[in-house]
C-alpha cells in the first residue's frame, strides 16, 4: 500500500470534497455528490489499508508512511461520525481536506519501509498505549481544524468582510463548541495514553520519561491542552485565544509524532 500513486485516489477525493465543502457557494447545502465522493474515497482508502502486508502486525506504527495512511483514514471515519452527531458541522470541510493532504503530500514523502520492527513493540502495553495516543491525536486533529476555522471566520468578521455572512460558514460559537468537545474527548485519552507510555517505558528502559524530543513535545502538548481547559473552565475565556491554544497544542502533538524521523533516542517509531 506504500505506492504514492495509489494514495492519490482517496487523497484526491478527500481534497476535492473538502475544498468544495469549505469554499462552496453561499447558502447552498452541501450536494449529495460530496458525501458520495467522501464515502467512495474512504472505500478505496480502506481497500488500500486492507491490502497491506500482515507479516509485521505492528508495522503501521514503525513505518511512518503506513502510520500516515492509517491515521488519515481514521480521521475521515471520525469526521463522518462526528458530522452525523453534530448537525451543522458537516460543513467543516477542512477535516477531509487535511486527510487528503496527508495522503497526497505527506505520506509519499515519509519513509515507507520500517526499520526492522523494534522488538520492544512486542508487548501488551502496545495495545494500550498506541490506540489511546492515536485516538487522542485524531480528536486533537479535529479540534485543530475547528480552531483554524474559528480563526478564519473570526478574522473575516473582524475585517467586516461580507463573505463572513454568506451563509456557508458555521458560527463562531458552534466552531468553538465543536473544538471544545473534540478536545474534551481527546484529553483523557491522551492522559491515559501518556501514563501507559510512561509505565511501559519504565518497564523497558527503566526510565519513566526517556529524554527524547518526542517525549518532550508530547508532554508539552499535554501541558498546552491542560492550560486550555484551565483557561476555559477557571477563567471563562472564550474566543481566539482558545483557538490559538488548540492550534498550538495540535502542532506540538503532530511534532511529537514526526520528531523521531529526525531525532535520535530510543523511541524511533511513530
Amino acid at each position: 500500500m506504500g505506492d504514492p500513486l495509489l494514495l492519490l485516489i482517496p487523497g484526491g477525493g478527500y481534497l476535492a470534497a473538502g475544498a468544495t465543502l469549505t469554499f462552496r457557494r453561499a447558502g447552498h447545502r452541501p450536494a449529495l455528490w460530496i458525501a458520495a465522493l467522501v464515502y467512495a474515497s474512504l472505500a478505496t482508502h480502506i481497500v488500500l489499508l486492507v491490502l497491506r502486508d500482515y507479516s509485521e502486525p505492528t508495522a503501521f506504527v514503525a513505518s511512518f508512511r503506513e502510520a500516515a495512511v492509517s491515521l488519515s483514514g481514521l480521521l475521515v471515519v471520525a469526521y463522518l461520525i462526528v458530522s452525523r452527531m453534530l448537525q451543522g458541522m458537516g460543513a467543516l470541510g477542512l477535516v477531509p481536506a487535511v486527510a487528503g493532504l496527508a495522503l497526497v503530500l505527506v505520506a509519499p514523502s515519509l519513509p515507507a519501509v520500517p526499520a526492522p520492527v523494534p522488538p520492544i513493540l512486542q508487548s501488551a502495553w502496545f495495545l494500550l498505549h498506541v490506540p489511546l495516543c492515536l485516538l487522542s491525536h485524531l480528536m486533537y486533529a479535529m479540534a485543530g481544524c475547528g480552531a483554524v476555522m474559528y480563526l478564519v471566520v473570526s478574522g473575516l468578521l473582524k475585517a467586516r468582510r461580507p463573505i463572513a455572512l454568506s451563509g456557508g460558514l458555521p458560527s463562531l460559537e458552534s466552531l468553538d463548541r465543536f473544538s471544545h468537545r473534540m478536545a474534551k474527548i481527546g484529553f483523557p485519552l491522551l492522559t491515559a495514553g501518556l501514563l501507559a507510555g510512561m509505565l511501559w517505558s519504565y518497564e523497558v528502559w527503566g526510565q519513566v520519561i526517556p529524554e527524547a524530543p518526542k517525549q518532550v513535545a508530547a508532554f508539552a502538548s499535554w501541558g498546552v491542552y491542560a492550560a486550555y481547559f484551565h483557561a476555559r473552565n477557571a477563567r471563562g475565556t472564550r474566543g481566539r485565544f482558545c483557538a490559538w491554544m488548540l492550534v498550538a497544542g495540535f502542532t506540538l502533538a503532530l511534532a511529537g509524532l514526526l520528531l523521531p524521523l529526525v531525532s535520535g533516542g530510543p523511541h524511533r517509531f511513530i
Partner: protein
C-alpha cells in the same frame, strides 16, 4: 357607475363556457402597471382590494373576445393577464384594463406596459421568481400570486390556460429560488444585524443583548432580535421612561443609564443608537470588561451617527464592531449578489416560457387531434367487426393478433401527421389552416362532439 353585464347578472353563464375554453389560436396578453412605470398616485388607483377581485375578474372576462382573466394586484404592481381568441390585440387588452379599473385610457397612458404571448408568460414567471420585485428575490410575491390564481379560479375566469400558467409560474418561482441564490441573504439593516449576531453566536436565546439608546433604528434592531429568539434584552436610555416604553413594547428590561458600565460588562451583544456627540463606549470600558476574566466574543453594533463606540475598540481581540456604514455595505452587498443572479433567473423564466408556449399553442389542435384519433379508432373497430363477421372461424390467438395489428396500423398512420400538426401549431396556425385540416380529414362538425379533453 356602469357595471359590466356579468356583474349585474344579466349574463348568467359566461360565454366562454365552464372550462374557459378558447378555440382556435390562444393569445395570452398582459397589461400592467408596476413601481417602475407608475408612481404611487397611479398605483393606488389601480390597486384592487381582495374583496373587489371577483367582480373585476368577471368584468374583464365579460369583455368581447376575452376567454380567461387573471388579476395580480399587490402594492407594487397590478397586472391583468388575459387569454383571448384570435384577433385580441394589445390595444384591446389595454382597453379591458382601463375598463376593469374604471379609468380612462388617457389616465393610464404612459404608465402601462403590454406584453404578448411568450413575453407575457416569461414576465409572469419572472414576477413569481421575485426578479421584478422592488426587493429582488422577496418571497411574498409567491403568496400573492397563489391567492390571485385561486381568486381567478373561484370566479371561474381562470380556464385551462391561465390555471396552468398560474401553477407553472408558482413552480418556476420555486425552481428559481432553489437553483439560484436570488433569495439568499438579508436585505435590511436590522436583518443584517441579526445575521451578524447569528454568525458569532449559535442562538440568541441565552445571550445578553444590551440596547443603548432608543433610536428608531436601534428599536427596530431590538425588535428583530426579539423576533429571532433573543430572550435577555436590557434597554437603557438617558430618560428611563423611554427605555421602559420600549422594554414594555418588545418584552425586555429597562435599567437606569448610570448602570451602563455594569451592563456592558455582562452583555454579549450591544446595540447603540444614542444621540450622544461623544463616544459612550470607549476602549477603556471594553478593555475593563475584557480584563475581568471575561475574554469572550462581543458583538458591538453602532447605529448612531455620530458614533457611540470608539472605532479603536476594533483592535481588541474578540470584539466585533460594526457601525452603520458597515451594515449598509453588507445590505448593498446582499442586494448586489441577488441582482447578479438575475440573468440566471431570466434564463429559467424564458426557458419555462418557451415550454409553456409550446403547450399553449398545441392546445388549439388538441380537439382536432382527439377527433382524428376517435375517427380512426371508429373506422378500425368497424373494419374489425366486418372481418369477424365474414370470417367466424378465427382462433382466439389470430383474433388478438389482428386486433393488435390494426391498432398498430392506426397508430403508425396517425403518428407522423399528428406530430407535425403539433409542431405546426407551435409555430402558429390560423383559423383557415385549421378548417383546411378539418376539411382534409372530412371530420364531422365539432359541435357534435360531446366529450371535451380535460388537459393536453
Amino acid at each position: 357607475m356602469i357595471l359590466p353585464a356579468a356583474v349585474t347578472g344579466v349574463k348568467a353563464t359566461p360565454p366562454w363556457g365552464d372550462g374557459g375554453e378558447v378555440h382556435g389560436q390562444v393569445n395570452i396578453s398582459l397589461v400592467g402597471v408596476n413601481h417602475l412605470t407608475a408612481g404611487v398616485a397611479v398605483r393606488e388607483r389601480v390597486a384592487i382590494a381582495p374583496r373587489d377581485l371577483p367582480s373585476c375578474l368577471l368584468a374583464a372576462a365579460a369583455c368581447e373576445g376575452v376567454g380567461e382573466a387573471l388579476l395580480l394586484s399587490t402594492c407594487n404592481r397590478s397586472e391583468l393577464y388575459l387569454v383571448a381568441a384570435n384577433g385580441c390585440c394589445a390595444a384591446g387588452a389595454a382597453h379591458v384594463y382601463s375598463l376593469v379599473h374604471q379609468l380612462s385610457p388617457e389616465q393610464l397612458c404612459g404608465h402601462t406596459y403590454t406584453l404578448q404571448d411568450a413575453e407575457a408568460v416569461a414576465h409572469m414567471f419572472k414576477v413569481a421568481a421575485g426578479a421584478e420585485s422592488m426587493v429582488v428575490g422577496e418571497t411574498e410575491i409567491m403568496g400573492q400570486l397563489r391567492r390571485a390564481v385561486e381568486a381567478a379560479r373561484a370566479a371561474g375566469t381562470a380556464g385551462r390556460v391561465l390555471s396552468r400558467l398560474g401553477d407553472t409560474a408558482l413552480a418556476v418561482g420555486k425552481r428559481a429560488r432553489t437553483e439560484t441564490a436570488v433569495d439568499r441573504g438579508c436585505v435590511s439593516v436590522a436583518s443584517v444585524a441579526v445575521r451578524l449576531a447569528l454568525q458569532v453566536f449559535d442562538e440568541l436565546a441565552s445571550r445578553r443583548v444590551l440596547i443603548v439608546g432608543a433610536g428608531e433604528l436601534g428599536a427596530l434592531v431590538a425588535r428583530r432580535m426579539v423576533d429571532c429568539g433573543a430572550g435577555d434584552v436590557t434597554i437603557t436610555t438617558r430618560t428611563l421612561s423611554r427605555a421602559e416604553a420600549l422594554a414594555g413594547d418588545i418584552g425586555g428590561r429597562a435599567v437606569p443609564f448610570d448602570r451602563l458600565v455594569d451592563e456592558l460588562l455582562k452583555a454579549d451583544i450591544v446595540v447603540t443608537s444614542t444621540g450622544s456627540s461623544t463616544p459612550l463606549v470607549s476602549v477603556e470600558r471594553v478593555e475593563a470588561a475584557a480584563g475581568r476574566g471575561r475574554r469572550r466574543p462581543t458583538l458591538l453594533i453602532d447605529l448612531a451617527v455620530p458614533r457611540d463606540v470608539d472605532p479603536a475598540v476594533r483592535a481588541i481581540d474578540d470584539v466585533y464592531l460594526y457601525d452603520l456604514d458597515d451594515l449598509q455595505r453588507l445590505v448593498q452587498d446582499v442586494e448586489g449578489r441577488r441582482c447578479c443572479e438575475l440573468p440566471l433567473v431570466e434564463a429559467i423564466a424564458e426557458e419555462e416560457a418557451r415550454r409553456f408556449m409550446l403547450w399553449a399553442k398545441s392546445q388549439q389542435v388538441t380537439p382536432l387531434v382527439l377527433q382524428l384519433r376517435r375517427q380512426a379508432d371508429a373506422i378500425r373497430a368497424e373494419e374489425i367487426g366486418r372481418l369477424l363477421a365474414t370470417t367466424p372461424d378465427l382462433t382466439g390467438k389470430t383474433e388478438r393478433a389482428v386486433h393488435l395489428m390494426s391498432k398498430r396500423l392506426v397508430r403508425r398512420l396517425l403518428q407522423g401527421p399528428l406530430e407535425r400538426l403539433r409542431l405546426l401549431a407551435a409555430e402558429g396556425l390560423s383559423e383557415s389552416d385549421l378548417s383546411l385540416i378539418e376539411e382534409l380529414f372530412t371530420l364531422p362538425d365539432e359541435a357534435e362532439e360531446e366529450e371535451e379533453p380535460t388537459d393536453g
